[in-house]
Symmetry: C2
């Protein structure tokens, strides 16, 4: 686990139980690549989704959150499964500073290991949540996959629609954050109003998180969001900064985008144009709007000590980042 | 659907409802590659697993089987998901005589479409079966993935252990047949003794089915099992005929196996040696043993009209094939 949770020792302690659950899932059941998968599972993920799931549960009946380690593990394993498949598809050599799973174990094993992990997630979800939540879990994975496919089909097609972009990241990212909050809230025994509010909180956090991630792709390799600058451009992804830059474009940017794929100098030129256009500030405005919405939802939650923790975690994740 | 079920009009009619359920799953929910996936789903699969699921349910309470179309759909969609991923991994150009999904739509889309299908299977399983059966469903998928990984890791390593081979196909094939029978039996409302007997029937049918499939890889491209001869040898798979042939080998076969990968003439020489060794007859003996066990289990099932149907389907699948 990264040090993201260091200032939140109670959550951190709970997440250690989640990590133990993940490790035991991976190492049990005669899985042939257990040791290799354990390397991934035990690497320094931020554990955002299980952390939020547990925090949401604290708004419910006392003591319930303590039983949710297996369900929290399942949502993090799901995230890891999608990362393993994504890395194959993106031909990514590294993940969290280590050779990606498919590089060490082969593409075939990586596809099957992702599939195996999906199965374990569903096994945990159906064993440790209501049938309705298990169904919800499956539904969201379907949405994430659909959105990833849509994103891939849209590669190197540059739309100027902010709305289309928001719909895409809602499916790709916010749906899973929202699921984590909803599962925690329902299984924690929250009343329906609180479940709804937590679901919306998760959605807004997920939207802000993805917008910030897409901004940072143009900014920096530092901090908790680590990716090489310009990666989205070289992959043909049209994210919010590019959309805002195209809105402001005098024709130079559109011309540069005409001949994909882009070599390194082309990527650098495009990134520079986007930075200079003021598009990053405009995008930051949208991230801020979602963050503020999330913080407003949080203020409306029941007045329990966990509310302050959730606000601080959200600020740490989203406010420091821009 | 193939004409496999033509002689069983009641099952065939039920399977048409299953096909409709599959088609509506694929075409709903805003899936971006719906039309492409519908091509696969609507192609001529044998629908063995959903057929067996429905037959097993007939041993339970009257009328229950009629409600099991969504669950039967989910087990066939699962099978299709694994085929889509397998075809990527095997770089197979064709599936059921048509270009494979990844050939028409790209590897990335094929991986994500398989993932999406897994999610739909779990959604259907958690919506239309008991939590225990949803958990069982996930467990079996995990077993299938583990077995596929184990098979891949063992490529070009030639073991002489029949037992190891049987363990492998139990996970790869029999587990899923057994699951189909178990889900049908439990959801159909069978008593525990009948559930157990149907589970064992499914296991034995699955084992016989896979052994026959592995024999036919050395025999023929005709009939309901269609694969090019010698495919397993060229892929480095060590199946039952090869194991039996190695037991009888005077050293010539072992020598030929020493330098993989094998070109076409090498594959042909190896296949000829295996055929001449009597290994196919020995393998047929094992297939027959599982078939007979399955038929004995069927004879012990409650005396309902479906028992005769199940026996005839089993004989059609397994007895005519060798």
């Amino acid at each position: 686990m990264t040090d993201f949770w260091n200032d939140f020792p109670t959550v951190k302690k709970r997440l250690e139980a989640v990590s133990a659950e993940m490790a035991s899932t991976v190492r049990s059941a005669g899985f042939p690549l257990a040791a290799e998968l354990a390397r991934v599972v035990e690497s320094d993920g931020k554990m955002l989704r299980p952390g939020f799931l547990l925090l949401a549960a604290e708004f419910g009946k006392p003591g319930r959150a303590a039983d949710l380690a297996p369900l929290a593990a399942s949502i993090e394993l799901l995230h890891i499964a999608t990362l393993i498949h994504d890395d194959i598809l993106d031909e990514a050599p590294l993940r969290r500073g280590e050779p990606a799973f498919h590089v060490r174990n082969g593409v075939k094993e990586a596809v099957l290991t992702g599939d195996w992990l999906f199965a374990q997630c569903f096994r945990l979800a159906s064993a440790f949540s209501t049938p309705e939540n298990a169904r919800r879990f499956a539904l969201v994975i379907g949405i994430v996959c659909s959105s990833e496919i849509r994103q891939d089909l849209d590669k190197f097609r540059y739309s100027k629609s902010v709305r289309e972009y928001l719909r895409k990241i809602a499916g790709k990212t916010a749906a899973l954050f929202s699921l984590a909050f909803t599962l925690g809230a329902v299984e924690g025994g929250c009343d329906p109003g609180t479940v709804g509010r937590l679901r919306r909180t998760g959605y807004d956090i997920g939207m802000a998180f993805q917008v910030i991630d897409d901004i940072l792709d143009y900014e920096s390799t530092e901090g908790i969001f680590r990716k090489p600058v310009g990666k989205d451009i070289s992959e043909g992804l049209c994210t919010l900064p590019l959309i805002h830059a195209l809105e402001r474009d005098d024709g130079r940017l559109a011309a540069l985008l005409e001949n994909p794929p882009f070599d390194r100098p082309a990527v650098d030129r495009i990134v520079r144009l986007i930075r200079e256009s003021g598009a990053l500030e405009a995008s930051r405005g949208i991230a801020r709007r979602y963050t503020e919405r999330a913080l407003r939802e949080i203020e409306g939650l029941p007045d329990k000590p966990v509310r302050l923790t959730l606000r601080r975690v959200t600020e740490r994740l989203l406010v420091r980042a821009y």
